[in-house]
Amino acid sequence: MAEEKLFFEDASVGDEAPELSLEVTRTHIAKYAGAGGDFNPIHTDEAFAQSVGLPSVFAMGLMQGGYLARMLTDWLGVGNLKRYKIRFTGQVWPGETITCKGKVTKKYEKDGANLIDCELAVVNQEGASKIAGEATAALPSRR
């Protein structure tokens, strides 16, 4: 019950996910607010954000967390994730270009499941960390 993208036999420790990059605009943030329901004005109301001393609005952590998850499902297939953990290490501001990255750190079998562990990151155009994360996925087998 999952999308077949990457097979366990084809995954190796050190393999890297195809990267996903985008230049973040206020429109990305507004769309995520509507879909995700987070209407905290520090994310969507520029005048409010500046009134509390911020340079501008900034993205919700779960927005870049959502893009990182999209990179994962594009790479590993929908329905294969077992665990996804993200730590928000920096705010993402409009105009920044973020890149989502993933790498296989462990490949193993446990309780009959074919598992991989991955380390994950979201960084900006200067390499500054925005998210540090990890995931575990159960991959389908060719057998």
């Binding site: 995700g36 779960l62 999209r70 929908v78 993200i86």
Partner: protein, 155 residues
């Protein structure tokens, strides 16, 4: 400052209908063009009951129901100083797929509160909440944990 007596507190559970249109909107907001999130027939061929939810979709539940200010009210009930607090981490544990049409019962508890020395002095509070999502058969399909960091007050 967070009230530590609140560790173990269970908030009143609420129900959430996983709507197909909301899944499409969520996927589109993240630029995700995977047809599995919109095409029911394709999703069924891949073995899902209906279109599956993207991995972080359940995080939207806390904002849409039972109240737009649910999360804010929750923080206030825990006596967290909202102005000094940030969402530090999220963790999702996937047990069964969440798909359109599911009616999930969401139960949220305060899992833990720990203290940590802040980088600029003072003590930070680390508050972990856990949400459990159960379907109509009573099966737990997913668990989410969130960590809120309440920074030390600079006095």
């Amino acid at each position: 400052m967070v009230n530590e007596a609140i560790i173990g507190k269970e908030f009143p559970p609420f129900e959430f209908l996983v709507e197909r249109g909301k899944i499409k909107e969520f996927a589109r907001a993240l630029g995700d063009k995977n047809p599995l999130f919109t095409d029911v027939e394709l999703a069924k061929k891949a073995g899902f009951k209906s279109v599956p939810a993207p991995p972080t979709f359940t995080a939207s539940f806390l904002h849409h129901v039972p109240d737009e200010n649910f999360l804010l009210n929750l923080m206030m009930e825990m006596e967290i100083d909202v102005a000094r607090s940030v969402h530090g981490e999220s963790e999702f544990e996937y047990i069964k797929p969440v798909t359109a049409g599911d009616v999930l019962t969401v139960s949220m508890t305060v899992k833990d509160i720990t203290k940590k020395e802040g980088k600029r002095g003072g003590v930070m509070n680390l508050i972990t909440t856990e949400s459990t999502y159960a379907n109509k058969d009573g099966d737990v399909v997913q668990k989410d944990r969130m960590l809120f960091i309440e920074r030390a007050s600079v006095t």
